[in-house]
Amino acid sequence: MPSPPYHRSYRHLSLGATGIGWSLCCGLLPSLTLLIFAPAILRFHSRWVIALLEWIGIPVSERATYLGRLPVIVPEVGSYAPAHSRYPAVVAIVGCIAAAVLLIPLSRLTPLRVISGLAALLCGISGTFFYFAGERFPYTAGTFADVWLRAEFVVWLIAPFLLSIILGALPLPSGMTLLYTTMTVLYAVWFSAVRLTLLLTLFHFAGLIWMPAAYFFAGFMIDFFYLVGFYSIAICRTTRIVRKHREVWQW
């Protein structure tokens, strides 16, 4: 008979509520800094994307626009979708077949099969759309970069605030909370530029047909993934700190 693991349920931590206020301040500080230096940060982000694209060897132009009142530079790349007229049809068929193989039957599903199956299905839908009404696709690589910048800017603003709320209830020193929220924002800005560069490169070489999959699977999903990653690191650290404190044992 297997032996049960250690007893877990007795532990109760009486944590102070005062830290929440400080933590919220620590979360708001990076957001506030971001707002104050938004023009410079957005410009830096776009310039970096343009520099990376030029380094890869993709011709890129700049377009000036506004995010609310904030001036923004949007990188524009030309899309050289393969000229063959059957390309969307091939993507549609392969995507749908791959989705069927990955998602059916239900009993064989795993998380990776679900994610890749849905991505394949999206590619299949996209291929079908491009085959029948490709000329009506409403976006270019430039508009994608524009929407990406706007949405990512919202994520950059929300992420530290959301993180500060959930870290606020933990017995984490304020400096540590500030460090985690700032790290999250810096990583978000850096990673956003890297992903946008990669996606614009993909659109340049493989066409806009991949845009829906890129938008839904390489955008917010990934943002959420690293946000949870930072949270798990913070919790791991907090648990180690708490272990050193005197524990309150209760029911």
């Binding site: 877990r8 009993s107 999206l122 929407v147 959420f224 648990t239 708490v242």
Partner: protein, 413 residues
Amino acid sequence: MVIAAKIYLVIAAVLLVVYAIRHSIFSLNRLLYTNRHGLQDVFDSKPPSITVLIPMHNEERVADHILEALLVAEYPRDRLQIIAIDDHSTDTTLQIIRHYAERDSRIRALHRGNGRRGKPAALDEAIRMAAGELIMVFDADYLPGRGLVRELAAPFVDPAVGAVMGRVVPLNCGANLLTRLLDLERAAGYQVDQQARHNLRLIPQYGGTAGAFRKSAYHAVGGFDANVLSEDTELTFRLKLAGWSVVYANRCECYEEVPQTWGARIRQIRRWAIGHTQCFVRFALPMLTRPGLRAIERIDGVMLLAIYLIAPLLTLALVSALFLFFTGALSVLNAFLLTFGIMAFNSVGNFASFFQIGTAVLLDGSAERVRLLPLNVLNFALSIFVVTAALITHGARCMLGRRTAWQKTGRFR
């Protein structure tokens, strides 16, 4: 069509945020407040008589483990009866049960070879034979500790208590990635979700195993309905609506075997989703209208019942977003709402979510296992897909007049 899709996205985001608030309240309750006292330390000079029920269907791999564990339970011999139910087994389960019944007079073997299959029907038949005032149920893969029977019985000192639920802890959490992820999910579900609901005097859920209920209360509310796949949720709400209280006892730990393969996990959440939603259809309206409940109990009860409906809601939101994307109407506002909704939902929302998991891990004091937290995103993606598919299939079967069969979770010991 575009406007309808946009309106739906806004409604979905609002609902997700409401769930996010509910779950963050639970986590904050566990982090910042002391727990409501249980009654486990009350010593009763005349302990109540108890009948332990163990429904089994092809459980030869685990049957002797639970019977051995119960035989060494610290409870007066004359107050304890154990009924091991063999429910249409085709392996050696019945022989194992009979062997133990011959060995110890507290154990009684119940063989079911005819009639309706499934846990609710098996329990219903066994309860008719039960001699105890209290009915305690354990699935065959559970390993109760020596003091568990006594501790689960203690809260029944309060005559208003109709059912008690203990904490379930995975025994095989180190087996593979899936069991580790499920360990995190279970920790959040019990250490945070159930305990906070108990603290806030809401409705802790009787989970159908590692729990107990009063036989008189069971009969008073009409017993189990064999058509419902989650008889535990059904009993919880029947008891609550009849004025009984359901309590959670975090200290009453019982060890279980969580699924080790994705196939077994899929069957499990499929059953839970369908059973829970059957209960939603049955009890949502009475929860809102039946007199005697506090407003907060009504709201939380309905949200608890509707929890699996979040999956199709979210799937439809993604389909709406996709539609808006191809029509060029996915403006920044929609993107923002969708992002915010999904982030709020996943970070502090449903399915034993991340905030709760983090809180539970902190309360349990085990740091290392939380590093797997981001991988739970993948687990939740699977859950959303499977629950959506299960509810659609179940809806179609209902329309065709067919019944969804009870599916047992596989064993890995």
